[in-house]
Symmetry: C2
Subunit: 116 residues, 2 copies
Amino acid sequence: MARFCKSMCPRYQAAVDIVGKRWTGMILYALMSGPLRFNELTERLEVVSDRMVSERLKELESEGIVERRVQPEPPVRVEYRLTEKGLALSSVIEAIGKWAELWIQLDPAVLAAHSE
Amino acid sequence: MARFCKSMCPRYQAAVDIVGKRWTGMILYALMSGPLRFNELTERLEVVSDRMVSERLKELESEGIVERRVQPEPPVRVEYRLTEKGLALSSVIEAIGKWAELWIQLDPAVLAAHSE
């Protein structure tokens, strides 16, 4: 198992470091239903600032999880979509979401702090 | 979706904060195949210090994910096992592991730093 860990633990850690960043799960979840323009994305993620969404998208692009696609014919349209690597994350996001819904009880103070 | 996030985002975040702590995934993975004594656990997790395993177990106990069970008849035997909440995490650990195995490529420097 130690040998297994030597190869798997850093990979596992890299994966949770990606999906564990604040708002990243929500951005991926929003994109799971299809490509979105920046404004469409920020509308859906109302509670998240534009700057934060933009920052997260850049990170996800650099990880090869999200692709920024410019459609050059007018009107120019910029879309964000999940790559194959990003689509494959759906099962992770869904598993975490399902478990969290069933097993995580938050006290009202935490909920209030999070929605600030 | 913003309303959905208000309830789900903090829960999702709490979940990834648990499974994202260094070595936690590996400890849960080890316990997925059944209860283990402390020594059995540290043997399997060779690369992790006893102190770290002990710390993580305490955290997981306080989250209700791992149960420490003392069997009083001699010889006294202390076992760690996943609770129902912990067993339900299997799908999360497996989904992350599967995705990481397929999609995360690590350069040798990162692997070396991680095995220190």
